[in-house]
């Protein structure tokens, strides 16, 4: 499919939704410009949730700042702490124990599972298929309990610290065994879900060809994560991250970029996550989980990119006498907002919400002051 082009002439009918609207879980404003009930142009505005996180991180001690990054997002909270600690570790040349690296990968993949399950449940609910939604929510509860077992809390686990992971998150034999048995349960449940999902011809015909994002356009808009991979581009930062060196997994892609591709993408990627967790459980090395043998010094700007459930996450800051300066955080939804706008175009107005949801929006973590520099 060629690129989608928004109409340039003036469209009379505008349907604004938001900022607080029953159809959307998070507050954001979307303006749909409609002709004959077909969306010709969409515009998403965020900024309602601006809490000024980068501003309040300015001048905080780096350990405290890391703990604060966890509160950016309630879905990918672990990824934010992970990347923030990773940034400090890169800047201060801290060696991380092998065991801590494995536990971080396990936490990261569990988080990917719970994020993808949430996406599937939310997606199925937006299609108005509550039964599938409930099935996925039930599976998700297994993952949430595993996360609570390791981190001690269901949402904010606070697992990584500078130099490794928190000693509380160390995995003993019993925990590893429970992880292993629960992975079997999740795989079984997910296989059952996927079979039923694909066998449901009404649902499949409802979601095929809806909210298409063309490949060329996805690359041009710098879309990241599963939303990009669902358009057929095999780009995954996990293949370049040193944490994932020991693991064998496939980068899943789907051809079409529509809602069906996106939903299937998440299901298939969850299987890859289960595979990675199983490898980590089987090969987890012995040893300590945190390296306290490091010194603080002033650094230049440190940058770190990792792959989180929704795409590429970027953290950067300077360290000055142990304090954070000029923190910049870029979350994957920032790039994917453009994808949401384009995915709406050309579809019926009733599919607009579905087209936005298929790009996995998380406006909460995206809301911060933005300056767009045109070059």
């Amino acid at each position: 499919m060629e690129e989608k082009v928004p109409r340039s002439n003036i469209i009379e009918t505008e349907i604004p939704l938001g900022t607080v609207h029953p159809a959307a879980l998070e507050p954001y404003r979307v303006r749909l410009f409609v002709e004959d009930e077909i969306v010709q142009e969409a515009e998403i505005t965020i900024g309602v949730n601006h809490r000024g996180i980068e501003r309040i991180m300015e001048g905080l001690p780096v350990e405290k700042g890391n703990a604060l990054t966890e509160k950016i997002c309630g879905i990918c909270s672990n990824s934010h702490v992970w990347n923030s600690c990773r940034t400090a570790e890169i800047g201060l040349d801290i060696e991380i124990p092998e065991r801590a690296r494995y536990i971080r990968v396990i936490m990261g993949e569990l988080e990917r599972l719970h994020s993808h399950f949430l996406y599937l449940a939310h997606g199925c609910e937006t299609v108005a298929h509550e039964t599938f939604s409930m099935r996925v929510f039930y599976l998700r509860e297994i993952v949430m309990e595993l996360l609570a077992m390791i981190g001690g809390n269901r949402v904010q686990y606070g697992c990584p610290i500078i130099g490794g992971v928190r000693p509380r998150c160390d995995l003993d034999e019993a925990k590893l065994l429970r992880l292993k048995t629960d992975m079997d349960k999740i795989e079984e449940g997910l296989t059952g879900f996927a079979d039923r999902f694909l066998a449901d011809s009404i649902l499949i015909s409802r979601i095929t060809g809806v909210g298409v994002l063309p490949t060329k356009q996805a690359i041009r808009l710098a879309v990241t994560g599963p939303t990009l991979r669902a358009t057929g581009v095999a780009r995954d930062l996990r293949t370049t991250m040193y944490e994932y060196d020991d693991f064998d997994f496939n980068v899943v892609t789907q051809p079409d970029g529509d809602v069906k591709s996106n939903l299937l993408m998440r299901v298939l990627e969850s299987f890859e996550s289960i595979k990675i967790i199983r490898q980590a459980i089987a090969n987890i090395p012995e040893g300590k989980v945190v390296n306290r043998d490091w010194e603080m010094f002033d650094t230049d700007m440190i940058e770190s990119y990792i792959e989180v459930p929704r795409g590429t996450l970027y953290h950067s800051y300077y360290l000055e006498s142990g304090r954070i300066r000029h923190c910049i955080i870029r979350t994957p939804s920032m790039a994917n907002i453009a994808a949401m706008q384009y995915a709406c175009i050309g579809d019926h107005i009733t599919d607009a919400q579905l087209s936005i949801v298929q790009c996995d929006p998380c406006f909460t973590c995206t809301d911060r002051a933005i300056e767009i520099i045109r070059r």
Binding site: L68, M134, C365
Partner: protein, 148 residues
């Protein structure tokens, strides 16, 4: 028990309003009412997104500047009797966003929720546990059912 409270006890509608927290509490609350594990719907507690049919308003988040007006409008739109549950540490005291610098509160935050609308029950936790949310809503039920 009058006919009013009898029928009201069979359809408690909870509305969730999100005012700028981290999304964690919201998912847990939706989870506690919808998901099959906790499933408040079996006790005839339903989730709604329409303020005009809500009985209990659950507020999460520290109330950012731009969220203040929508929150007030939603509160006004709910018919009497109405009760508000503030869920999560952000809704109770502004959370890390307001208080991380100690005595100098963040300028972005209008919260806690008490500053804006009257709160009947407070559910602590970061993020709240689904069991706690259910307990918070349940403690309000006598007040709600006895009201005219």
């Amino acid at each position: 028990m009058g006919i009013k409270s009898f029928s009201r006890a069979r359809a408690i509608h909870v509305m969730l309003v999100y005012t700028g927290g981290c999304n964690g509490c919201d998912i847990e609350i939706v989870n506690s009412i919808l998901s099959p594990r906790f499933d408040a719907e079996q006790y005839k507690v339903f989730l709604t997104w329409n303020p005009r049919e809500a009985d209990v308003l659950v507020v999460t988040g520290p109330v950012t500047h731009l969220n203040r007006k929508p929150l007030e409008a939603i509160y006004e739109a709910i018919p009497e009797p109405k009760l508000v549950v503030a869920a999560g540490s952000c809704a109770l005291m502004g959370g890390v966003y307001k208080n991380i610098h100690g005595d100098i509160p963040s300028e972005e935050i209008e919260g806690p929720v008490e500053n804006i609308i009257p709160v009947a029950a407070k559910v602590p936790g970061c993020a709240v546990r689904p069991q706690d949310v259910l307990a918070g809503v349940v403690t309000l039920l006598p007040t709600l059912l006895d009201a005219d």
